[in-house]
């Protein structure tokens, strides 16, 4: 018997893996990918609640999250390309001009 708890715990685990990736990795592209992982975990939560509450709104939200994720990836990767042209590296340790 699969309950809502199963889905929520799975999505919490995926979200924490995404946070781990953002904190631990230094490659800008991997960090962007970890962000995608976190967004996907949230999508899973929305869909699970949409199913167990019997409401379609959760799936509408997921559609909009996907739109935002696509926009975020396009701009993020464009920034990665621009940074790579400027610095010759996408290691986030090399991008510290605005670091306090």
């Amino acid at each position: 018997m699969v309950t809502l708890h199963h889905y929520l715990i799975l999505s919490a685990a995926l979200f924490c893996l995404g946070i781990f990736g953002v904190m631990f990795r230094k490659n800008l592209i991997i960090i962007l990918m970890s962000l995608e992982l976190m967004l996907n975990a949230v999508n899973l939560t929305f869909i699970a609640f949409s199913r167990y509450l019997g409401s379609i709104e959760g799936q509408i939200f997921v559609l909009f999250i996907m739109v935002v994720a696509a926009a975020e990836v396009a701009v993020g990767l464009a920034i990665a390309v621009a940074v790579f042209r400027d610095r010759g590296s996408i290691n986030v340790n090399d991008i510290n001009l605005m670091k306090w």
Binding site: V2, T3, L4, H5, Y7, I9, L10, A12, A13, L14, F15, C16, L17, G18, I19, F20, G21, M23, K26, N27, I29, I30, L32, M33, E36, L37, N40, N43, L44, I47, A48, S50, R51, Y52, L53, G54, I56, E57, Q59, I60, V62, L63, M66, V67, V68, A69, A70, A71, E72, V73, A74, V75, L77, A78, V81, A82, F84, I90, N91, N93
Partner: protein
Amino acid sequence: MEAVMFYTLAAVSLISAILVVSLRRPIHNVLFMIITMIGLAGLFILLHAEFIAMVQLVVYAGAIMVLFLFVIMLLNLDQLPLDLDQRSSKAWMGIGLAVYLLIFLIPVAMQFTSIATKPPAVPAQSNTELLAEALFTTYLLPFEVASVLLLAAMIGAVILAGKKTPGNVPEIVDKRRTY
């Protein structure tokens, strides 16, 4: 049957997500990310969200991950000798934060006992029909605003990643003057 499907798909998604954040070569990360996406799409089908599952496959596993692959190949990151990831105390703090958040999130997830065990019956209408009905009536304005967001993102990406060589800009100005 549902439980077997759930545990298989959950294991596939979790293991490949772990590989996404831990493997060194960016190409491998992207390929395992695609497997995570496919596993999640299977879970969406299990939750009777068939349309979202297909969008997940086409947009995420198809378009977004191909974009990642393109950038990795464009920048030749696989040949680039990247520094090893930092293994200092700051990085371990990141792991600690992730584990702490997981410990914090699990009791929150266990709270929803009243709706958790028995989902309502699957509606007779198809999932796509229901979704389209809500999207094009109640949520029509957000839908249109989303298209503006996508346009803005497209223009932003073109401007950010566009080539800015010094000789490029005056050339365009000269061409305009001849018209």
